[in-house]
Symmetry: C2
């Protein structure tokens, strides 16, 4: 009975918090995207633009220009926008740019690497898979060995930041190995583009795919591919798909600046605004520092509550952090999700099959107050289940 | 000099109008989508939702339920949402549901029919093309003859409303012919879904693809496919594409109500709102009457200014009307587009290769005042080029 009473007291406390949040109407998304966008980004979506109207063509051109700056892309690189989620861009990149038949090495240390394997196999590539532990960065020496062992491998595909865990692979090392051996490297940079500085041109990447709604902090619905012009210009008729044909998509943009098929105009306006805000913030290095600060606060707060991170700090990116689900008495991760969701605070489930985990996103329009509120909500839950009694905590 | 002076006077008049419109900030989109959305639809986009959060799952379920109502779809029909433009859904439908190898009859009387041919050929179907005039509805008897001539044809694909011209083909007649002959009919209903009442179940359609941003009057970025369950359930592994695989997409929705890949959350919230508004308006019959009223005002107004429509009234749909570009002295269609665009009024270019045309959309959140404003702007242009002097006009 005492337990029920305590529970009810806590419920009341939670009710107040819930009311405040519902009044605010704002959800705190500790997720890897869709994420909290800024009010400027959301306001940009409240205007209807015609897809063939010159104002929208200017929006498209502005987005392309900003994306090229973010990618540090020279004139030898084309950027091609595409409708749909990031996976659409990854599939468009692989399906439009890799010759068939040809042999490709796919580096896999997470669910997004596995997805690339599925795409490559579906479109009929000869696939060599190099799998490694999801808690370890891809070993560049293994890549070198695989390429030296099999000279028929023309292309390598890898994920830069694995959202599965939040781990960031060593893009520069793999790019160097591929370049030295004359192989084309294609990168899924969904979770790092705009959040980690690198140059598509300097790395000599053959292709790179990313999307609007992660480190760029736009709304979801747009993805894009950077491609070496010398490669994409030879790819007419190669794509397995009409909708995902990057060559035709590029040709349409080049001919009159318009999209080949109806673009998500509101999402594009949001992306244009998000890119201006990235610029104002100080570009990718400043964005990275903010995400890192968020990550530091989140990791410190959870460690303070005695949660353990899954991967080593040295390879931990700043998009999302994976925590192990503890085996504490009464601790139920679904209960924690629901409890926080009732307060408009959203954590993200784990994606590993090997180990029970949950994830906490560090990106988007969230600040230290928001992180504090989230950690306090977790703490209240832990008190309610009787976990937190004696733990001495630093101030959040 | 007099001409320049007159021009400048008219420029001043236009400047006032331009100022008014710019202050309002609203563009009038006489286009077939992206179109003017209601303020409720735009407001729905100003909230960030997590893609795995229960509120968003409810949004997805509500959209599915409303779409089924619009389609008059029984339990034997599945609805599968997809990221991207309408073409993505058409390709997903054809690529996921048609067996390979197999022979398909594609009925073509416009650019969207030609696009279906490109998709069918790209994915390796054996394609029989039945082309007919873009200014005439597809002749159902020709379809019957083609099917009777070649028994190896398993499937038929057609466009219901050809946005190329605004012409509406006789879906019921073709569906009856296909059904009687035991062939599967797949329909691109982009420009009619939500704007013309029909029942996917009663017509016995094998599949139907449409999108969020035409007669449903949502924002662009979402498309969807209705499919006979008995067909789609046999299609595991058939799709040429991972991203456009309707079987896997359906399986994910069925398993936990969530999207397989990141959905455009803001566009989904907009679509949910647009579907509620369709319901409040009185459903598809009421929506059709409103679009028809807009079309009547537009056609009457342009005819009054001595423009001619391209196709016969009997086959003219209510999404978009095609007008012939007149050969009048000084009349330049690009000048008219730009003149109106400067006043935030957007007409739509023609898409026919045979004949110079322009198009005027009748859908979206536009009213009689807006149509009057557009017609007045056209009239002012015609006066300026010296065309309108003696024409007696009825009040707009």
């Amino acid at each position: 009975l005492l337990f029920v009473k305590t529970l009810n007291q806590n419920r009341d406390e939670n009710d107040d918090m819930r009311l405040q949040n519902n009044l605010a109407g704002r959800k705190l998304l500790f997720t890897p995207g869709p994420l909290n966008t800024s009010s400027a980004v959301r306001t940009a979506m409240t205007r209807d633009l015609g897809s063939r109207d010159s104002e929208f063509t200017e929006v498209t051109q502005a987005v392309e220009k900003h994306l090229r700056t973010v990618a540090q892309a020279g004139s030898e690189v084309a950027v091609v926008l595409l409708q749909g989620s990031g996976t659409f861009a990854v599939e468009a990149m692989i399906g439009s740019l890799l010759p068939r038949p040809s042999r490709v090495l796919v580096l896999v240390n997470g669910a997004y690497g596995e997805r690339i394997v599925r795409i490559a196999e579906r479109i009929g590539l000869s696939v060599e898979i190099q799998r490694s532990s999801p808690t370890q960065a891809i070993n560049p020496r293994d890549v070198a060995r695989a390429l030296d062992r099999d000279e028929t491998i023309q292309s390598v595909v890898m994920v830069h930041g694995e959202t599965t865990t939040g781990l960031v692979n060593d893009l520069e090392a793999v790019a160097t190995i591929a370049r030295q051996r004359g192989r084309n490297l294609f990168v899924d940079a969904m979770s790092t583009f705009g959040g980690i500085p690198f140059s598509v041109s300097e790395l000599g990447l053959a292709g790179l795919a990313a999307s609007s709604n992660k480190c760029l902090e736009g709304a979801p619905g747009i993805s894009f591919v950077f491609a070496q012009r010398r490669i994409i210009e030879c790819c007419q008729g190669r794509s397995h798909s009409v909708s995902l044909d990057l060559f035709e998509q590029m040709r349409q943009f080049d001919s009159n600046g318009q999209w080949r098929f109806t673009p998500p105009t509101h999402v594009m306006a949001a992306l244009a605004t998000a890119l201006v805000q990235l610029d104002i913030e100080g570009g990718v290095p400043a964005r990275m520092r903010r995400h890192q600060a968020n990550r530091a606060a989140i990791v410190a707060g959870f460690r303070d509550l005695e949660f353990d991170t899954l991967i080593e700090d040295g390879v931990q990116g700043s998009v999302i952090v994976t925590f192990k689900i503890p085996a504490w008495t009464n601790f139920r991760i679904e209960e924690l999700y629901c409890d926080l969701a009732d307060q408009n605070i959203h954590l993200y489930p784990g994606k590993l099959t090997e180990e029970p985990t949950f994830r906490v996103g560090c990106i988007g329009d969230i600040n230290c107050n928001d992180i504090g509120r989230m950690l306090s909500a977790v703490e209240r839950y832990l008190r309610r289940i009787g976990r937190l009694k004696d733990i001495r905590r630093s101030a959040v």
